[in-house]
Symmetry: C2
Subunit: 182 residues, 2 copies
């Protein structure tokens, strides 16, 4: 893996930035790769779709900007509309399947969906949908290890919410494994 560019998109309040942060932290601090997370506030940041960009690389990262993402994690239709055109045609589109209708993608894109909000609600806290997405991402991409992600989640979420967030992560991870086997 030379360099993998990931874009995470959704609306404010879904935890888009924490998701990117946890993935970057897992890759670098626990999986011993290099990672950066960038938040740009250009014209594309105006409007309610927000996003964070993560680069993971075995080597040094000279440019942290994401130009040709091969993986997207998308949690709202507006974010899909805004960011999907930049996805690599051979890339992977991971969606919150009850919030995103993935229209107009090239047939070569691999689309993987999960009802993350509903799963999070089942755990009693809709707000952990981002950790459900993060678990799903971990299982279906293999870009970061499950153990590294668990440590990153544990050390990044607010004190007192570690267990809830890890449960959400595991739910997403299991769902991803079952999809991978299907």
């Amino acid at each position: 893996m030379a360099r993998t560019e990931i874009r995470i998109g959704g609306f404010g309040g879904q935890g888009v930035i924490l998701t990117g942060y946890v993935i970057g932290k897992a890759a670098s601090l626990y999986d011993n790769k290099n990672a950066t997370m960038t938040q740009s506030f250009g014209p594309e940041a105006r409007g309610s779709a927000c996003s964070s960009q993560v680069v993971i690389s075995e080597g040094a990262i000279l440019n942290p900007y994401v130009r040709h993402p091969t993986v997207m994690v998308i949690m709202s239709q507006e974010a899909f509309t805004k960011f999907a055109p930049r996805l690599d045609p051979e890339g992977m589109m991971i969606i919150e399947e009850e919030l995103v209708d993935p229209q107009g993608l090239p047939p070569t894109v691999k689309v993987l969906g999960i009802p993350a909000t509903r799963i999070a609600e089942g755990l009693g806290r809709k707000v952990v949908l981002n950790m459900v997405m993060a678990g799903f991402f971990t299982a279906v991409t293999g870009l970061v290890s499950r153990e590294a992600m668990r440590k990153a989640v544990e050390t990044s979420v607010p004190k007192g919410t570690e267990e809830l967030n890890l449960r959400a992560f595991e739910k997403g991870y299991e769902y991803g494994l079952s999809k991978a086997r299907a």
Copy 2:
């Protein structure tokens, strides 16, 4: 203002990343400048001091990495030890004054302190110390406008906590104004 580089540092749980996010958002979405926020997870990210880097510029930002910060916002001694040596000798060091002892800085650095944690506790929630710091930063640097920051805070914090965070912001802002007049 060609390009201003800012580093925000502290320990996990102090809201270092949200602080950088709010400053970047205020500068770009509401003050019509350009801004980026970068989180790097290199060797310097190991350990408990965490940081976020913000670049504000009137022009395009070609490189979002912060190499010569002119402003630092530091909330822990470990972050001070780690990041202070990189501060521009003519720069400004903004500290949580009860958590940071700013030793060894060149005499040309301007040091400005605020007891942000104590002020946040006075509002009933220690966790808003980062918004107290953000308000103080706004008053003493003038890099972002108060109105832009208020809008950025309001649209970035968890739903239901807007009022508390804005109160914390205003407390820090007022404290900064009184220091500026002193």
